[in-house]
Point group: C2
Chain length 162, copies 2
Amino acid sequence: MKWNEVSSEQCSVARVSAVLGDRWTLVILSECFLGVRRFEHFKERLDIPRTTLSTRLQRLEDHGVLERRLYQEGPDRHEYRLTPKGVALYPVLSTIVTWGDTYYSDEAGPPILRKHVECGHDIQPVLACPECRNDITPRQMSARKRPDGPGQQPVRRGPITG
Amino acid sequence: MKWNEVSSEQCSVARVSAVLGDRWTLVILSECFLGVRRFEHFKERLDIPRTTLSTRLQRLEDHGVLERRLYQEGPDRHEYRLTPKGVALYPVLSTIVTWGDTYYSDEAGPPILRKHVECGHDIQPVLACPECRNDITPRQMSARKRPDGPGQQPVRRGPITG
């Protein structure tokens, strides 16, 4: 085992979990991808305490995931829009939905169907290799430190997954 | 706007966030995919309080994401292994890493490189359509309630993303 050479502290998960690692934050982001923008709408739909919602939106704004835009003056009212960095979270939310659909749906199936409008099929997006276009499984992936960092050798051939 | 017809409470995000919506949980899962299995190893690598680690591992076990297996008797010692349901979280962790690599790397690039062993390329996995094999962007996806539920009409054509 060489896992002692690669730490998730070094990798991106720890950094990202500081932004996303919160139950409400994931649900708020999901609402954003459904087109929800306004404080009162988030609040009504999620039945979330005002302070909790306010804190989470502020943090997402601080991290550049959402931006506030004025949509009404006197009194000023803002709405929350996904920035490009926020839109780039779509694969994260999408894979969460897929996992939830697989393991947390009732017997009738997923509560929401997703269609790939481009080809017209109801699908669940898959993880693919941008080079060979094949589906990716965890055992086909290896991880190593960046060559200019300390410790250049490959650290594993596929994770140990079970 | 028809977002009032689809709620993320109905969809899988709320259910999943009860399992994953925690900073430590995401980092612990990332360690699992690197092959870490033992309590003391998680503890050393993450510098996490024992009680916090214990609680998180127990919850992942309760949800069937990890299972404990005996690896030593007298005294009995267990290790934590990803179940198939746990392995199925790979796309979630992978897309989190990709997003973190994009927005939280230092100037030299991502701290860890990932290789698709099957084709030999260093890659970041992408989200693809299993039918047409094209890459997926959020604007190409639509969502609607399951036809046998209340409200059968499509609720949007692509999320409003900015």
